[in-house]
Symmetry: D5
Subunit: 92 residues, 10 copies
């Protein structure tokens, strides 16, 4: 099952720089692990914003929530989830 997810990151200005850098590094690893196992097939940067649009492929809502709430940056994110279905014109 596919979901479109928008993530807007708002790191508080008073979070120590080192701590922020550490979280971002762990976030990158976490994301790339999910990309490699196929659950996070697409991640794109929204031009001009500290945000991304991503496509997730998971077996259930619960799995998606576990993946998203497990994001190291989750406490600093506004997330919107849009469930997707197959489009009748889709040639794939």
């Amino acid at each position: 099952m596919l979901f479109l997810v928008r993530m807007d990151v708002n790191i508080p200005s008073d979070l120590p720089a080192a701590e922020a850098a550490e979280i971002k590094a762990v976030e990158k690893e976490y994301s790339q692990g999910l990309q490699r196992d196929g659950r996070w097939p697409h991640i794109w940067r929204v031009v001009g914003e500290y945000s991304n649009y991503s496509i997730f492929e998971v077996a259930s809502n619960d799995e998606l929530h576990d993946v998203l709430s497990g994001l190291p940056l989750f406490p600093y994110m506004d997330i919107q989830v849009t469930p997707l279905a197959k489009h009748p014109s889709d040639i794939n």
Copy 2:
């Protein structure tokens, strides 16, 4: 270059059914032609809505506008365009 595009379709209730069906058929062909030539790599149905999210791969803004404004259903659509860039965590 990649763009995320959301299309919400609002066909007026007083458009004759035959005319609407005809436009939808032409729309499907138009879309599948662009999918085959690689400019419309993804099209997903938004669950519960007469809407889709799509990914377009084009060479310029102008090309994207020509493609979108050429949609047979364009007069009945609300369209939002979000330019995308490569995400630093993207493993592809």
Copy 3:
């Protein structure tokens, strides 16, 4: 899998009354069929509005879209879909 769905119904004032009544009757049958087979476990009226909140239990996004887009009143509805997951405090 559970989804919360809000449906706002806007029947155009120029739709003949008989036609509207016919669609509503078919809608009721459609809904009650899905309630009986367990895919539509809850449907509540929003006080003061021609709207409802419903809970759907389906196996996939695609199944949910088929169910919703198959609603006889679908052309006259604004629909919002919120995917739900198990809450850590839920005792059930």
Copy 4:
């Protein structure tokens, strides 16, 4: 009487972790007590967000406000309350 309630939790980043954990534990107990006595029949996690949708069954508006304003996390919540009525298609 039934109410649909959405709760969005925003715990300030400068609240000490131990204090936050303590409040969440008390919150869980408080919620499960109400679930057991039937006033909080449903609680679902909104996928991707630190939010829930819940159904409350109470005798009056005042009782609902007492229950909600008594939530340990109440000071850190944005809450929306939607009164529900029986839907004419509801087979239950």
Copy 5:
């Protein structure tokens, strides 16, 4: 139980004047009946708008929905319902 209700009236411009006048007359009677029996204790005009704010006193959500959906102008109204509780500073 008390509810604050806002009603915005939007009568389509193509509704024949006589029909509109007839509905408004029936609406007035309907409203005044409920005012006399105590369920509609307050109705105020919003300055500059074809809208009102009202206070309803009813025994349940279902009763409120029956009252509101029974309004002759209901098909032409946008209605917002806010459940009210006793305020701790209220001297009454």
Copy 6:
């Protein structure tokens, strides 16, 4: 003259508890004084929120502003004011 006023209270989490309690006590006294002299005939709690809807009866806009801006909690409030007029269906 009547006004409907909505007050949403947002007390900063870093305001010392004692200071907050003191302001709330003074607020209650202030409100009850105005209720007794008839300028604040109604105050209702919005279910689930640290907010109220109130009806004020004053002689002028300026008097209303003095009353509202004199609220001890004024610095922590978002306030919306809606001027009300007599409704043609009002039986009082």
Copy 7:
């Protein structure tokens, strides 16, 4: 007492031109009468929109509503009313 009022005019495209012109002429007369008697001291055009911002000076909310709801273009207007008070820095 002063009020700031915004009026957005939306004349339906299917209103016969002659009828629209007639209403606008009566509207102009109505407005200028109120300007001469001092109740409508200011009227400004919002640049680029079929809208105006106006200042009204009236004795009560009810008088303002009578004036506004008496506007010939009232049925085609969205109106927002903001009550104004004397500003402490105002040198007049």
Copy 8:
């Protein structure tokens, strides 16, 4: 003086095609006349929408309103006007 202006065009679906084409032709001439005399130095198409962003250079607010309200498509437009000033970093 410079203004940024956004124009969203919504031509009603029941406007005869010939009439619409005629208005668009007159609109193009009108626009190009203003571009040639320097008052409309920039006009850009918003990708994917029947909208444009334009820069106007005029001597006053009144002149801008005359120019905009004189647009043949004005009755079918939603227009937003943003006054611009010289930016301290502007090297021109």
Copy 9:
């Protein structure tokens, strides 16, 4: 040229009281100077809010920006600017 300007003031709760009082005093002087020289002909308090609506009469956009950005409270303000033109019904 006339502009309608709305100013919403949000002074952070952690700004020392003395400093806030000092800025407000300078703000009052600044405003009254502009009122005396005719560039700030009207300033009204929005009832119930720490906001004002004002009318400015200036020669250009740049002059208006200099005046507004020079406000001592500018860093704590949300400002909306609406350019105004002469209304065809205005008798002045």
Copy 10:
């Protein structure tokens, strides 16, 4: 390729003045460098706000994101990007 970009700057009140001034100076240099090399052909101040509208001319979305995310004030900005195409009426 052209893009319209709106930037709203919100510098936290607790950022030391010297540090803020330093960042602004670097921002000005950064902007003027891009203006000189043609990628930032227009920058205008939004009257009354700490915001600007700019036109960027770049070869791709990715280049635009690099330019914008490289802004020294980027962490304190809300940015909206609108892709632009050639308008059919544009005489240039």
